[in-house]
Point group: C2
Chain length 419, copies 2
Amino acid sequence: MKAIRWHPPSFDIRVEEIPAPKIEHPDDAIVKVSLAALCGSDLHIYRGHGGPGITAVHTCGHEFIGHVVELGSNYGVDSAKGRPELYATLKVGDKVVSPFTVNCGECGVCRLGYTCRCPSGLLFGSPALEGGQAQYVRVPKAGATLFNLNDPHSWSSSLPAELKATALAGIADSSLLMLADILPTGVFAALQALNHPKVLPALTGRPFPTSFFPGEASAAMVAEDRTLTFAIIGLGPVGLCAAVSLLDMLASKELPFQIIAIDPVEDRRAKAMAIYNKIDTAGKGKGTFETCDIEQAKKRCVGCSAVLEVVGNTSAISLAYDLVRNFGAITSVGVHGQPPVPFTGSQLYAKNVSFDFGRCPARAMFPLAFDLLVKRQDVFGEVGGPDSLVDRIVSPDEAPEMYRAFEKNQVGKVVFKMN
Amino acid sequence: MKAIRWHPPSFDIRVEEIPAPKIEHPDDAIVKVSLAALCGSDLHIYRGHGGPGITAVHTCGHEFIGHVVELGSNYGVDSAKGRPELYATLKVGDKVVSPFTVNCGECGVCRLGYTCRCPSGLLFGSPALEGGQAQYVRVPKAGATLFNLNDPHSWSSSLPAELKATALAGIADSSLLMLADILPTGVFAALQALNHPKVLPALTGRPFPTSFFPGEASAAMVAEDRTLTFAIIGLGPVGLCAAVSLLDMLASKELPFQIIAIDPVEDRRAKAMAIYNKIDTAGKGKGTFETCDIEQAKKRCVGCSAVLEVVGNTSAISLAYDLVRNFGAITSVGVHGQPPVPFTGSQLYAKNVSFDFGRCPARAMFPLAFDLLVKRQDVFGEVGGPDSLVDRIVSPDEAPEMYRAFEKNQVGKVVFKMN
């Protein structure tokens, strides 16, 4: 089969013919990949910044969609009962999307919903697990890892029945592919911001301390106190998904808000506004949405209830600190590297700031992310358009050039048509 | 009047006769101080580490209790209506306790409950505001700042009526003084840990993501998943208050738990166990409580649901990181200084860790802290005893020696009898 492979030490992507994967464990599935995407976090390894353990040649990619072509012996048998549902129900031919990591679904970490930190977890497209930028990919623990797009039963219970019936037919594969990483990560960023106890007083009208011991609504609170203000730092594909998700959540609860979406790149800001402009009036909710660059942000949006940091570097997290109010929350889903966190202890104490760091538990977020995709797919336009998350769909043969151009910010999100 | 005063640059405490404070603003109250305490955070200025702005001679202390002896002209008048309640109800003679900072109670920050970051806030015992280690203290914006111990109406609505009637009579002033800082700060630490969305799945049985969109209870969760594990780092007075508060909250909800309380000092660990041993069976709840030193902690309690960091230095926050599980929460109420936070971005990303930093909004926490004091006062023993938060009550004339000894860890919490 054809596969897009990384070679050490850096900047060396080759399209190679290698043997197709086989079932290695009874829990495995083999997926025939239709589309696989290039993600910003693929660049860490591409640049040779994957860390000291990342030296082996491997197939790239952790965002893919396809069909099941082979299942291990643990599927559809009596012993599948009591295990994650897909061990009993998944069939050859089912259309599936995978999160970017494997999870077992049967340990305490998975049961709590923290699927991306499953102790049996492996990242696709790393030396530990061959990636999805190939014609076929082996998915370990597939009965827990995969999301079966052919089975409405596994979708969120909050999705209206009439949407379930027609949901899948109306969505392009290049949109469904966003479920692998960027859409759940955006939903995760928005959800963490809205869930944070430091945001709750404005959200509920009940002053801090609240939640564990529900407080009483404060008659004294005025409308201004209850207007939630958010900054989104970084308007790449994940930041755009975070924006759409945040808007949707705020609109669904009819909460008043202000969102300022920040990126130094004008084209990205324009794309954010193009997507926002396509949202219907009800979906826009009771608030405002603006874009600006970093200097404007520092002047205009200091004092945010919460900041969504979707970049993953030192300047982004510093900007988040500058923009958040005292007793505000910073939710950081960017993939941070080796530089030290740029704060002194007294800075953090003095601002009563909170941080939520880390990787999205994508598998646990799938139902919410799929809901959002069904409800809001219309805001994402045709591939390559000014309002599309995907810049282009290309042949895998173009991978070396696309990696090079993507690393230089010369193309947006690239999808490879693998079959 | 007699006052305990700090002189620059450091380690220079003098007991001096100075003019008693006067009403300077119609919102002021003058409080005759019965007891004032020495707090670990007083040591920052004592050592000359208060920062470049801290050069002026001033009266020390931000923990005090006393009686109102004079009120400004804004009290008990028609214009007090619609303002914080004490502008209408506070009277000369009322017994009051103050949080360590002033708050106006009338701005958006105060209305949200974030009283310790009120833009009009001032810290007692700093060049900006004379402290409470004096025979009299001026309290700005006293109608919002003070807690009236003579007015059960202002106490928490969750306190049973039969306790309200007798509550005050049964509590020593040296215990009520703990309301000024250490008890609400302990409650704040415990509350932030239990409120954190990353702790909620174990607490509620509903897997992540939950809360903003209430998830469904997971039939798959087992008892072990739902056992909350906590580390408390630092068993000074605030750490002990955090431990009692956490135990009380967990017991009140009948939640299963494990608490490991950590301190390198054997006497502090012994005090923690002595206090724990005095809690009745119902108050101990459905869990275990142990103490250990730092090395034992690193071996035994890795993987905590949440860590309460009550020290405020680099090694404490590093230990917190080591002990917390993936997707765990660290609540840091220690007063951190100038050293950089000792983490790389990738460490925080890799563990999906959350932090809540900062100062307790003590005024907003008073009702919960007072509840706890009423319910659990019996666990804190006689002054100087092995189970007491207060080591000794002394004359203010001993202040220079007590500051010296406290800074050297040669005495525990010291209270000055000012009148």
